[in-house]
Symmetry: C2
Subunit: 130 residues, 2 copies
């Protein structure tokens, strides 16, 4: 399907607007040509980051990473690494003490990827659907 033909439900438009308007939420988008190669413009991947103030960690923020996505036909070529390296560096520049994320226990490939990036698999992630 041509991405340009995707019909977006109004609820998703509202969610995107909420992310866009919130100084503690951002969607980082990896574009073709961002490395100076190619014509540029096509979306290759994205990630949502939430900067959370807290009373631990000396009062520093933590960066929560959600919804890491790389375009299906471009996986396995190191783009996830580019996207996550940028995300981590951005959190560091902002003064965050920690980057955190959860990954489904079945996704062993993703777990190896986060391990290579330096993440410790120290916690269990609990979810309650409402």
């Amino acid at each position: 399907m041509d991405p340009a033909t995707v019909v977006v439900d109004a609820a998703y438009e509202r969610a995107f607007a909420a992310i866009d308007a919130d100084p503690r939420n951002e969607m980082l988008v990896l574009l073709e040509g961002a490395d100076g190669q190619g014509d540029g413009g096509a979306v290759l991947g994205c990630v949502q980051v939430t900067y959370i103030p807290g009373l631990g960690k000396g009062g520093a923020e933590r960066a929560l990473v959600e919804a890491v996505r790389i375009r299906a036909d471009r996986r396995g070529g190191g783009l996830g690494r580019v996207l996550m390296d940028h995300t981590i560096e951005r959190a560091r520049s902002r003064g965050c003490a920690l980057v955190q994320l959860t990954s489904n226990k079945r996704r062993e490939d993703a777990h190896r990827f986060y391990g290579r990036l330096g993440f410790a698999r120290s916690h269990d992630g609990f979810k309650l659907a409402l």
Copy 2:
């Protein structure tokens, strides 16, 4: 130590002010007497909740729970359950699709507690200290 004598570093005061000012962050505090018993007023526990907009879950928010704390001398008496039930109900009322949290893999007691509340231990939690 008398809680009234705690000296709070300025960084923590700024972090608390940031939580307090952010409509997507809140600190829920469990007070003695909130159930109508006792004189009331003493802090028995607290939890921080962050409401995160996102492009999954039909555009609904998710509630991230951090820093669940019950006063050391009042643990084991069901106060954690009171605090978490209230947290979950508050997220539900707001229209959140999900409540999520992470817990250190060593804390098997906490994992049983979250299991009893209905949480699924479906994910691994990754942390990168900056």
